[in-house]
Amino acid sequence: MMRAAGWAATGLVAVALAWGGAGYLATKPVDFHDYRVAAVGAAQSAYDALATASLTGGALLAGRVTQPYADTMLDDARSALAGAAKQFTDVAPPDDRTEAMRDRLGPLLVRANAVLPGRSSDLTRGALDAIRPVQAGLDRFIEDDK
Amino acid sequence: MRASDLLGERAVDGSGRDLGRIVDLVCETDADGRPELVAVLAVRGPWGRLLGYEREQVRGPWIVETLARWILRRQMTTVPWRSLRWGS
């Protein structure tokens, strides 16, 4: 009987601690570190989406992958980019340094959205060339702020 | 009566010394071929089953066996059925 009570007490304490910890983390105000992690994460996802589209496009133009495959890859890339944009806009910058980060990354994400082709039929040489500078910009952002 | 009614109960010897909890019941075949209870194994301390190391055939790995047998030797007693008194 005593042992059962002991276990129950231990369990309750563990749950209370976990609850308190989770509550603290959820309500903690966003600081510079949090913002940087969110921004770099969003930039990395956007970069991955563009790089995937450009690799797939190159392979499709060379006849190395099929059209349904390329369409699926572009769908994935679009939803990854949308997720990245949402992740980025969900957090407000807490100070001047992070505001500067926002002002650099925001336009890059908008451009990424504009150059990412929607369908495999849009994957032309020109479309791939348009991706390249945005991809390089995101890469620079990740390197600078990592 | 079920075996589970006895397992886990406390056993006490004739002089009233606590032998610990019953972890197993030993049977032998009697003259008519029926399985008859002849003894109980009692263990002091928190250990219940020791993964089968209470039996001779279970051996090794060396470190696990040595540890299990050390605990068993210190804490396990075989009590003949006749000399048992039941504790509360």
Partner: protein, 409 residues
């Protein structure tokens, strides 16, 4: 030929441990972020699962009892119930992920969204399990899964810088720009999935389904020592091709389609088609492995009759568990949860399940009452103990590292 086909049980089992959908994506992710720096984890995982699968195959062949029978017998009903709950949850999460994986492979072929495919896959899965013989299943999917070898060949076709790959493979730390916690998290995840418990449950139950006796001891060993290294080699194909194609440009792999791309780049549409076929077979095989394992473990805990050798009416409870598990898995998928994320949650339960599975196997493999002369030698015992320590360490470390890195972010 018949002898060659006798190893398909080992291959199919290994596929569930090394190249199921979660492994395909996380192994490729590891390659794209850390290069070949996780190769040693694959090697450690292959040796570990070989050691314990060999023991369980031996125990099963000699005693004709599957592994989960022995777990309850040695650990008692309470602790075994904890193991049952934990391993059932792992198996169910993996099953849901595999059904999603088959659907994702079909999406890559057809372009139609995977959520439309998921219910179709589930129905076909159940029909196949209901009607097709165990040996046929094992052969068809074990062998078709070997199509993934195309990725291993792609390593050479992509003309990598061999010297740099060699350096990566012999470096046991994260490359510059990546951190230790994420590196360790991925190492633990790869190791835990290589040793995932449904492999030994499936392998030993499969041995019983194939009516192994002590005469089949050699077949069991050949299955283990060919099947699991082969599974590991297929996983290495994903690791290495991602390291070659994606790491230099800094692309972090996160989807099945990306993992398949290097095959297309190396061999064109034929290569891509072969990889997708291999992924289809491997994930479908893993889906069969996990749905049967769900039935096996529950039935073996309660002592119900089980297996595909009996008529379904003779094992009604076993078939109900399989059916209900498939339904639960599809229901989980249709909530639009990401099937690949699902497999990462299994790590939490592995912490409980892995030690409670492998300790009783090690003890029983030493029981002369069961195995007579076929008990473990000192070598098997030494390896078994070392791996038990590794398993417990990994299991204890898993959850804190997981929280700290936000699941490998």
């Amino acid at each position: 030929m018949k002898r060659l086909l006798a190893v398909t049980l080992g291959i199919l089992t290994a596929i569930g441990g090394f190249v199921d959908i979660g492994d395909i994506v996380s192994t490729s992710e590891a390659g794209s972020r850390f290069g070949l720096a996780h190769t040693w984890v694959l090697v450690v995982g292959i040796i570990g699962i070989c050691v314990y699968a060999e023991m369980s195959g031996r125990v099963t062949a000699v005693s004709t009892r599957p592994v989960f029978d022995l777990i309850r017998e040695r650990l008692g009903p309470r602790v075994a119930l904890m193991n049952l709950l934990g391993s059932y949850l792992i198996t169910l999460l993996t099953l849901a992920a595999e059904i999603g994986g088959v659907a994702l492979a079909l999406q890559l072929l057809s372009g139609a969204p995977y959520l439309l495919w998921a219910p179709v896959v589930a129905i076909v899965l159940w029909l196949v399990l209901w009607r097709v013989k165990f040996e046929t299943l094992e052969r068809a999917f074990g062998l078709a899964g070997l199509a993934l070898v195309v990725l291993v060949l792609a390593i050479f076709r992509l003309h990598p810088d061999v010297a740099s790959l060699r350096t990566q493979a012999t470096t046991f730390r994260p490359p510059r720009g990546e951190n230790w916690p994420t590196y360790s998290f991925m190492a633990i995840a790869l190791f835990a999935s290589a040793m995932t418990p449904y492999e030994v449950f499936f392998f030993s139950s499969g041995g019983v389904e194939e009516r192994w006796t002590p005469r089949e001891l050699t077949i069991s060993r050949v299955n283990v020592f060919l099947g699991f290294p082969l599974g590991g080699l297929l996983a290495f194909g994903f690791l290495a091709t991602s390291a070659i194609v994606f790491q230099p440009i800094g692309l972090d792999v996160s989807s099945l389609g990306q993992a398949a791309l290097p095959a297309g780049m190396a061999f064109g549409t034929v290569g891509l088609g072969l990889v997708i076929l291999g992924v289809f077979a491997a994930t479908f095989g893993a889906a069969m492995e996990t749905s049967l394992s769900a039935g096996y473990t529950v039935a073996q805990y309660f002592g119900w009759s089980w297996g595909k050798l009996l008529r379904p009416r003779q094992a009604a409870r076993f078939h109900i568990v399989v059916l209900v598990s498939i339904l639960l898995a599809v229901a989980a998928l249709l909530t639009t949860i990401d099937p690949i994320q699902l497999t990462e949650y299994m790590l939490i339960f592995s912490a409980i399940v892995l030690p409670l599975t492998y300790l009783p196997i090690l003890v029983i493999a030493n029981d002369r009452g069961y195995l007579g002369e076929k008990v473990n030698g000192p070598f098997a015992n030494a390896l078994g103990l070392i791996y038990l320590v590794i398993i417990v360490t990994a299991a204890v470390a898993a959850v804190p590292i997981m929280i700290f890195t936000g699941m490998g972010g």
